[in-house]
Symmetry: C2
Subunit: 158 residues, 2 copies
């Protein structure tokens, strides 16, 4: 039986292969689907646009949100040719997408020279052992922004 | 002594407060600095642009990369009014930024209704316990994109 989900994941994979052939960026594609309709499709364009955040899933989310005129993609599912990296996984949470279909794994990405698994491992480490330095300062001053936020009328949560 | 880092974090905090006053989005600001110069500054514009990925750090990274015409922001540091969420933290890794200065904590963000800490907690959970459904299919087919990638001449890694 040819389930719709097979068609959508194959589309994401096809995009990933074409992306390499066209030299647009890494071998990754993504499709966002709502009610069995493709809302957005995208590929990784990091190197061709000089944007380190331009992963397929991020671009697909940005396109879908623009199309639906909503920062919440409730009811959408995402199909990714590879397991999303931590940036894209968190973006999927922020977008309110509840289901991720993916083909290759983060280990496959790592085996091909991408840092997805390294970054996942960094997340699991305590602050002092992370490769990145994190330096906190002026916390009290920053709380002013939250005070301002709390007293703001008509604010929109996301 | 007024260290340069004090000036930059205060700038990020000022942006976060102004952002709430202007109603552009959440109470967050970020500044990217290279060689003591501000390369990019941004605020959270999720709700005003209908883009769930438009956190201050992501927008700042996109601006800085565009300005430097490079997807690698080596030598840059980021100043954020609040500890970066997982999406932004991973984006900072992908951008090659090695140091994060931040003011408020992810707990402060959580206390004010933002999901940063919830998403961090989700990352620490095994797949079966995550709130999001993850469904793998057609892995073998997806490996074709990596094969194409490996044989691609002149490819640019990131």
């Amino acid at each position: 039986m040819n389930k719709p989900e097979n068609k959508f994941i194959k589309k994401a994979i096809k995009l990933s292969v074409e992306n390499v052939k066209k030299g647009k960026g890494g071998p990754f594609g993504a499709v966002i689907v709502k009610d069995n309709n493709v809302i957005a499709k995208a590929t990784n364009i990091v190197t061709s646009t000089n944007d380190p955040t331009a992963h397929a899933e991020i671009i697909a989310i940005r396109k879908a949100s623009k199309k639906l005129k909503n920062f919440n993609l409730k009811g959408c599912e995402i199909y990714a040719s590879c397991e999303p990296c931590p940036m894209c996984l968190a973006a999927i949470y922020w977008a309110g997408i509840k289901k991720i279909h993916y083909a290759a794994s983060k280990e496959d990405a790592e085996d091909n020279g991408f840092n997805d698994k390294f970054i996942y491992n960094e997340f699991a480490k305590p602050l002092s052992e992370k490769k990145i330095q994190m330096h906190q300062l002026f916390r009290d001053k920053a709380l002013m922004a939250f005070k301002e936020w709390q007293s703001k009328e008509g604010k929109i949560m996301y």
